[in-house]
Amino acid sequence: MKAFEEIEHTADLAFCAYGRDPAELFANAARGMFTLQGGGLPPPLQERRVEVEGVDRETLLVNWLNELLYLQERHGEVYSEFEMEELSATRLRARVRGGAQAGVRRRIKAVTFHDLRVRQTAEGWQATLVLDV
């Protein structure tokens, strides 16, 4: 199964993320978002803890990715490993690991709710995400 794939979007960035279960979907969505910024993913040297909530799975996914963008801006890091400690439809706790954001050349302003649906398919889970750049 692919982790994620970029989708054509005229002005912004869009991609589809996949996973066998919601935890893998959330991790692959994060991986996709950092990969699309260019510069490659650093080795997992620095660990940060993340806790987010949302009224439903879609809101939780957007809040999770926006939290990672905030950590990126705050610490100048990008992340390559995502370990879910708790994941329900409305709450997430995770440890994320990564390092300095050397080579990042495309800053994502935010993750949007546009067209967003987290779906369970015959192969697993998937979500389409549009990023404002």
């Binding site: 054509e8 809101t59 801006e73 954001q101 800053r107 949007t112």
Partner: protein, 489 residues
């Protein structure tokens, strides 16, 4: 929540005037008003090539929308609203949609006109571009040289460019030549989250990345000599353009409210075809809180462009003092192109208070508007339309017809037609820089692949976009600018 989408074709649009097309309310059952698009046939076809029109139709479903959902000729696919979208909702029962303003609240453009000709500046251009690149930090995750305390930042959020004036970063005339005099009323720093403030505090006086830029231009053509003279513009004059917004602070304000409203929108019983359109009634606590936070972020952006103006004046001083006889830089105007504003417009023959969302569209108030300063009142508001990198930009004036037809709005730029990924495959940043330099355009860029993503090939022809608004009468051409130097993150 998703409705079955109907895909529009050219046949669905009826021409209502030259370069104005209407999609009737019956096109989709959830539309509350018709949609109107300003375009020539070729730009209409461009708009039909991606999901722009579907997004325009989605905005026509917003509660309280009046007259039409409008799109400008630079329309392109965004998220929620199309870029180039204008929606007015009736006060107080209509809604405010944070996603309809966007993440870069008060992203906008400022044009500063020098007293120098291109001939005088050309020998010192290299030094000027280097000084600008050094003094106006750009790129991913860059901080500025200005340190704001928590109290300072609250003052910036409340006062906008007035704060900059008190700090000595502005002249009184700069504020007079800024939309809303550089300060949106009703800002409340309490409604801006601590995280948004934390992100904004180190970023004042920075340009950011993406499509933001500083450009040194020459006045390449003048279409309205009298208006140009009134604005202090002359042929072959050197002018400087700034394009940037509210940086991480504005992004966080939008994010906070788009996320928060996901649950409250259900409580208000509002059904939407796209969750990014999430909104709240203008008179609800959530609506009022967002408007107060948005005004704060908008004021941050006005202050940011003002601090950059100060830095640009310093750069000129560094690069030109003692080398050219005398020089100065006066502000032509500063406009916002991602905003929601409380304004009075004619609806059904009556003056009505509405909240005008402009997402990638520019305010274009016509002559006589009481909100314009005395020096511009009988002329109309200057409108600044940046083209894609290395092409042309335009200065227009707002018109009576823009007041009648588009809630005093017009286009904001060229509008993309090609994704960043495809542009990067077709254009190499290094090659593009060589081509620009061969045409006498100096380039300072933090990232060559970022440069490639902004290649002119990825955009519509700005001349065509401007021609449509000029012919439709919702903007009047005054001057064309062509670049001699580009600074990009």
């Amino acid at each position: 929540m998703q409705k079955t989408q109907t895909i529009a074709s050219k046949r669905d649009f009826a021409p209502v005037a030259r370069n104005v097309w209407e999609l009737p309310r019956e096109f989709r059952e959830d539309m509350r008003v018709p949609a109107r698009l300003y375009a020539d046939e070729s730009l209409l076809e461009d708009a039909l090539a991606d999901r722009s029109i579907e997004q325009l139709v989605n905005t026509a479903t917003l509660p309280g929308i009046v007259k039409y959902a409008i799109a400008m000729p630079d329309i392109h696919q965004g998220y929620g609203f199309p870029i180039g979208g204008v929606v007015a909702t009736r006060v107080p029962e209509g809604v405010i949609s944070p996603g309809g303003v966007g993440y870069d609240i008060n992203c906008g453009v400022r044009v500063l006109a020098s007293t120098l000709s291109v001939e005088e500046v050309r020998p010192h251009l290299d030094g000027l571009l280097t000084a600008l690149y050094h003094n106006c930090p750009s790129g991913v995750g860059v901080s500025g040289g200005f340190r704001l305390s928590h109290e300072d930042l609250d003052e910036v959020l409340s006062e906008g460019a007035r704060w900059a004036l008190r700090q000595g970063y502005a002249r009184p005339q700069d504020l007079e030549r800024t939309e809303e005099y550089g300060c949106i009323a009703g800002a409340d720093p309490q409604q801006v989250s601590p995280r948004a403030k934390e992100r904004g505090r180190p970023q004042i006086g920075t340009l950011g990345a993406g499509n933001h830029f500083i450009e040194v231009d020459r006045i390449a053509a003048i279409y309205d000599g009298e208006a140009a003279e009134r604005l202090g513009l002359f042929p072959e004059q050197v002018v400087v353009q700034i394009h940037c917004g509210s940086r991480g602070l504005g992004h966080q304000v939008c994010e906070d409210y788009v996320s928060r409203l996901q649950s409250t929108v259900r409580e208000y019983g509002i059904e939407l075809p796209d969750r990014e359109l999430v909104c709240a009634p203008l008179d609800s606590p959530e609506g009022e809180q967002y408007l107060a936070a948005m005004a704060g972020a908008a004021n941050f952006a006005f202050a940011n462009r003002q601090v950059l103006t100060h830095q640009i004046r310093r750069s000129l001083e560094q690069a030109l003092a003692g080398r050219v006889q005398s020089f100065d830089l006066h502000q032509v105007y500063d406009i916002a192109h991602n905003m929601a504003k409380m304004e009075e417009h004619q609806v059904g023959g009556q003056s009505t208070k509405v909240c005008v969302h402009r997402k990638g569209a520019t305010r274009a108030f016509g002559p006589g508007s009481p909100v314009l300063p005395d020096s511009l009142r009988n002329l109309g508001q200057p409108v600044l339309v940046p083209g894609s990198m290395g092409t042309a930009s335009y200065i227009l004036l707002g018109t009576e017809r823009s007041m009648e037809q588009t809630f005093g709005s017009t286009c904001h730029g060229a509008g993309r037609v090609m994704s960043r990924a495809r542009a990067k495959k077709q254009v190499r940043g290094e090659r593009l820089r060589e081509e620009l330099e061969a045409r006498g355009i100096g380039v300072r860029a933090g990232s060559l692949s970022g440069l490639a993503e902004e290649a002119p090939i990825a955009y519509k022809d700005v001349a065509r976009v401007v021609e449509v608004v000029h012919r439709a009468g919702i903007g009047k051409k005054v001057a064309r600018l062509e670049p001699i130097g580009v600074i990009k993150g």
